[in-house]
Symmetry: D2
């Protein structure tokens, strides 16, 4: 059994991580820290965990708590994991940061978008971007994982076959994506009240969203050169789910897109390419680590439309973190990740 510690388990990525790890056959949750809730029973915060977890929140300042773990997973807001990383790595503890501290390789760019000074810029280059479909081997040996953001997971998995194979005009990339409210976290914000967010859709942060540079970095790396990527996130009236609709101009409209996608993801346990003409629904991946993708050629055009659906808290956050944990520990990659989405 691998001993796993969780930093900051009071939010939605934390509760999703607990849900997954509690039923993982090869993991023991050794500690969960929370600055605000030290000593409180974890299950008292999450009614869904009553009877399933007999553990209280520990103090994140108590270094001995996490030092005894094999792997620590950080489910805190941005800017926290980087304060723990140097100490944990020095003690031989591997770290998976579900937040954004190690996602952007250009530290100055990171500091600009996240509005803070990076606490350990020297570790950024070492961190492995935890998208197994692209960096599987590096993840296996990594000490430090930058778990991808939710939108970046859906968008990159959708675009990768195209940009890896130089099939699209890299100045034409656009993603219009919609997320459920859980993506905004458990903070008490008025726009996320049911009274405000239900029965409505709106775009937000069209002027600039932090996931834009993360996605652009990943696509540029896959393409081998810079890309021009327009990102339009939306808020939708549901709890979980991201649906991303991707658009690009094909260099050669005669390419076999369906075959390309099926081939690219043939051996991926968590990417499901739908049959031709398919339309993935977010509910079909709810609570699972799956990304379902469909690829379309709008008739009479030289464009491609890719549809990509994930659960923002699972494949878009905590599920992917467990997938990375499995890889790092040499487990079967799907261990603990075999849930089937509720239907309906």
């Amino acid at each position: 059994m691998v001993k796993v510690g969780i930093i900051g388990g009071t939010g939605y990525t934390g509760s999703e991580l607990l849900r997954l790890l509690l039923r993982h056959p090869r993991v023991r949750i050794a500690a969960i820290t929370s600055r605000a809730e030290v000593g409180r029973e974890v299950a008292s915060l999450f009614p869904s965990l009553r009877g399933r977890l007999d553990l209280a929140f520990s103090d994140p300042e108590d270094d001995t708590v996490l030092a005894g773990c094999d792997v620590v997973m950080s489910a805190t807001p941005n800017g926290i994991a980087m304060t723990h990383a140097p100490g944990l790595l020095a003690q031989g503890v591997r770290l998976i940061d579900i937040a954004a501290d190690f996602r952007i390789r250009d530290v100055a760019l990171w500091e600009q978008w996240y509005g803070m000074k990076h606490a350990c810029p020297e570790l950024v280059a070492e961190a492995v971007y935890g998208l197994p479909e692209r960096h599987r081997e590096a993840i296996r040996g990594a000490r430090l994982i930058a778990n991808p953001g939710c939108y970046p997971t859906a968008v990159q998995l959708g675009f990768l076959p195209l940009v890896e194979n130089d099939l699209v005009d890299l100045s034409s990339l656009m993603a219009s994506a919609i997320s459920g409210t859980s993506g905004a976290g458990r903070g008490a914000h008025v726009p996320m009240l049911l009274s405000e967010a239900s029965e409505s859709v709106k775009a937000y942060a069209v002027g600039g969203h932090r996931h834009q540079p993360e996605i652009a970095q990943g696509l540029a790396q896959a393409a081998g050169r810079p890309v021009e990527f327009v990102f339009v996130p939306h808020l939708g009236p549901m709890i979980r789910g991201i649906h991303a609709t991707l658009y690009a101009r094909l260099k050669d409209p005669s390419v076999d897109l369906q075959g390309l996608y099926e081939e690219r993801y043939r051996d991926e346990p968590f990417v499901d390419v739908l049959p031709p003409g398919g339309h993935p629904e977010t509910r079909s991946v709810r609570g699972t680590n799956l990304c379902r993708i469909a690829v379309h050629r709008p008739r009479g055009t030289d464009k491609v439309i890719v549809l990509s659906a994930i659960d923002n808290l699972t494949k878009g956050a905590s599920g992917q973190a467990v997938q990375n944990l499995n890889l790092m520990c040499g487990f079967d990659e799907t261990e603990g990740l075999d849930d089937i989405a509720l239907f309906p």
Copy 2:
């Protein structure tokens, strides 16, 4: 491995049964029948099952299909299981009917409420009412299980400690319960459209709902004499979940209700009595086989209020059917039923 056959797996109890059985470690799904979908891949009907089930619908008329099973579970509309029951039992196949064909012991009463002639009245007396918290031992040895209705599960579990112990005025029993739309099944009915059911609540069938006699029968059996039970079901704007609010007049208001409930359900794996002052939420049991219960004494009155929450498709239907299957097969009662509710 137990070989399980499913009759009528195209609706919501069917898909919930598939979700549970596919991950059950001691069950193999041998066949799924559907008159309308013979030959069609099951997964093509349920996007959530893509990649998880390689089985096509069989013809229910083909007797050999189900005859080779150890247990058959019927997830059809009312009136179908009773046509299969005599044949299956004669062939040594045990049957769990998730619909209502064997729930009402008074055949004339059943025929009146369900508007049809019973196909095998002689089997009604043999059928065991599959509420494990009340009939566990009988279930273990049963050939034929009448799996309880969704409302009846929530309401009976809430009332049992009171009526079993003669603590309430049996002419004062009332339940006001609300269900998500999945309780109405996958039929295409206008009132269940999102456009009609969302952002609204209404009561329905106040003049008489089929679950009223089922509940009254169960409570009378527990009390040892007839009860007067008023039932008011409501439709709520959500997919899953039943919340039942129970009301009764206490004979002796000084009784320790909290202790009573905790004691009654101490060893029950799927009934969770909340601490004093608790309020169960349906989302905390979504997709699980749990019934969470809280008991309250409104101040200055001689009344008791019990709150009871289940997932109508799990503890209220297919999960309870799997619990019964586990009992019938001598498995651990919780096998395959350890899901934790998504939060959020």
Copy 3:
């Protein structure tokens, strides 16, 4: 044109009041105050009002602002209107308090439930409870109106015909009611996030809700003696709407309930008694000042079930306040209140 001032127009009752008054043909909104938003354009806070209102929030401390109004309507949290009431009345300004400051005639009881000292207990006796269906004449001449709570409106209108006519056992009264999240106001509370409140139902405050004494007071006044009233409020996954399900034991089960209700409310412009067997839906009253009611006799019992549906922000708050304003100003009672609910 009547000059109306609004105290505290930043919440949901405030925005509903603005929506109604802006289209009221005989009202001019003279001022809206907000301590926190002085000087800010009102429409900047409510996207729905862009282009419809050219007014900025005034300082509630500036006495001249409200003193020039004919009527002031207070849409603040509890405890604010009572600090304004003596000054306004002294200046000849009439006051409608949409909050609870003047609803409970027993000041000690009010202070116990609301956890604060009453600022002007001497005015409580003068205040008229603004339920027009019961106190229409007193409202016409009132200087100070205590606008009823949302649950109290739905529950009292449902019970009144029974208790006014001594038809039910007054120790058997129970209401199980469910409200949308807008009833909790625009405060940023975690349990009201869409992620937490959607796709779930729960009861709350079963141990004691402030509307219980308000309803008990109203029913006792209608009955002419004390009542024993059990109240179970629930939170439902929708924005607007209250559905109340009322239960009582009939003294004489042979009474013509349908005729009783139709007769009682024959001339009421905002109470709609459905035909026999009806089930009011909250969506059919959304955004309107209507209360729709149906009355049922569960077969084989001596009980009565009444179903009552309102929009908690309209008939349950701001719409009823406008109805009271119309009465106080001698306008047609329905002026400005002719909206038809959106369908769907």
Copy 4:
């Protein structure tokens, strides 16, 4: 008072039309036809109309019913209005078709997309496309109006300033739009059940949606030459609302987009251009005839993003039809269309 007849008032555009016309000060509803519901009280079909409408459905075959009207508005499925048009026009009755029979000027193209033979191709050329922001003068004098589709209204209003002024690459036009379920009508379709559509998002008809040619026709007409337009519609978990996100490549990125949009729509009563950086929400236009628009320039790119929000049943259908009615009758264009969206 203008006498208005409605063909096919049993669906959602019909009920929205009734809601608007019943409160229109210069309209009298003379007749509502329904083949299936002849003789039935209209209000019995729409609980929201109880007490507001004393009219029964007429037989659409009875020519005298509609012949006596000044204007007939058709809220039927596609293919019905065209069977009434020749007769009505011959009798001097003007016709507004809310469905699609007269929207596509190329009859062969229409027949291909709608899968039927056109009943009166000779009238297609005469029909005026009822988008007042583009064809106001022609609408005033029209006998026959083709009321635009819901997506086409949101998308064209968003693109018009760009294409009218030759500012974008006409081969780069793309719209990703999401609609509530009411857009699918009141038919009983399984995918529109709350159980299926709630808590999920999916794209649909990416291979080809009937609104694509309608939009392409309108944009081409505004541009003066053909356009290449990619359209991706989505289904969202809400009742009403369309949010369209538009993408195009700017020919000259230095253009003042905000000024352009404000100038273009300065005098439009129903188009609201938000301040720079704005994000329109569908709930802010729910139940109103407004289209709210914001225009963005993603940094570091030569692209433009336009956000456009309408209520699919109001500005996207029946509200726009009333706007056209007002123009045809010489009324103030906003008559009967002054609703403020519910908030929350």
